[in-house]
Amino acid sequence: MPDLEDYSGEFRPDAKLQDFSKDTVARLWRSNSLLYMMLGGLWFDVVKDKVGAEKALEWEKEVWLKRGGSLNDMRGVMEVLNIKGDDVAALFKTFQFAPGEAGWIDIECELKNKEHGILTATRCPALEIFELGGDTVRQKHACEDICVPGMQLSGEFINPKMKCRALKLPPRQSKDEIACQWEFKIE
């Protein structure tokens, strides 16, 4: 059976991912990644409505950093793509297919050598949503309270000696600017 470009045709009782073309599977992966990130945002909203913003911010941080939300994003990708190693190359390979990174953020990975690299997020939908709503509290929380330690945790997950430094963080002066930039280095 030739690859299906979409599922606009009749219902198939045994329809499987493998029935579709790569482009279609790629679109599905991106929409799933979007849902993955939106799920976290919706949980935040629901909890905020119930217990208030202060606790919701604190608990969101715990989910991503203490309970393992950040690392959850990496483990599965490393496993299914057989990504091994304890260097920056392994980290960047994982980010290129992690739902919470390349799944919904436009990223560029510049590997200077296996132990040193620069990750640039050229476009981040979360930042754009915060900017659009003028939500500086949530933006600061997401970028500084969660992403900064979360990126460090991701690096340490690959190699405890890996250090992450934020080279550029929001807020930004114009929409033409990149969203953020990070340096990873094994010292």
Binding site: E5, D6, Y7, S8, E10, F11, P13, A15, L17, Q18, F20, K22, T24, V25, A26, R27, L28, W29, S31, N32, S33, L35, Y36, M38, L39, G40, L42, W43, D45, V46, V47, D49, K50, V51, K55, W59, V63, R67, G69, N72, D73, G76, V77, E79, V80, L81, N82, I83, K84, A89, F92, K93, Q96, F97, P99, G100, G103, C109, E110, L111
Partner: protein
């Protein structure tokens, strides 16, 4: 570039999703679906710990009734599924990340465009809770699932009527997890 079966080789700066084999892409989708379920579980645990089971359950229902319309919309867009009948709902449901093949085993019997039966043979929550925590299973099946399925179906067509044909644990050998009927009265 030769199609990659995995990404065990060297770093490729401009690698694209399409550079991976279809099997590898399928595994990535499965991983993403698992991450969605795990992230959801982390939030549930966090809420249970902080405010107790009842409040966590209220949040869970609220979350799934809110997210349903987005999950349906994005899945239908990605697969170009049009229409607002039961068949369209069934087609999208086959590829929902929160109801992913491989984690759930299910069959759709589409009788016509406006009538179908969903049978779930294997459900992780059913398997886990049926003996460990029957009360939680009852709530999960009768309250959460009922509310979530209603919200997801309404995202396609608010006129889709849902009837639970079999829900909850009955103690029978080889018991299916649940069965639901979807119908639009014409």
């Amino acid at each position: 570039m030769k199609e990659l079966k995995d990404y065990s080789g060297p770093f490729v700066r401009n690698i694209r999703f399409e550079d991976l084999s279809k099997e590898a892409l399928g595994r990535l989708i499965q991983a993403c679906c698992r991450e969605i379920l795990v992230l959801d579980a982390y939030w549930q645990e966090q809420m249970c710990k902080r405010v107790g089971e009842d409040a966590a359950r209220e949040c869970l229902i609220e979350n799934y009734t809110r997210i349903g319309k987005h999950e349906m919309k994005w899945t239908m867009e990605a697969l170009n599924i049009k229409g607002n009948d039961v068949e369209a709902y069934a087609k999208a449901n086959q590829f929902l990340p929160s109801f992913a093949q491989g984690f759930f085993d299910f069959d759709w019997d589409v009788k016509n465009k406006n009538h179908a039966i969903l049978t779930v043979q294997r459900c992780p929550a059913f398997t886990q809770f049926k003996e460990q925590d029957p009360e939680k299973l009852e709530w999960n099946c009768h309250v959460l699932e009922a509310a979530a399925i209603k919200a997801y179906a309404a995202a396609v067509n608010p006129d889709i009527q849902i009837k639970a044909l079999k829900v909850g644990f009955e103690g029978e050998p080889e018991e299916i997890a649940c069965q639901w009927e979807f119908k639009i009265e014409t």
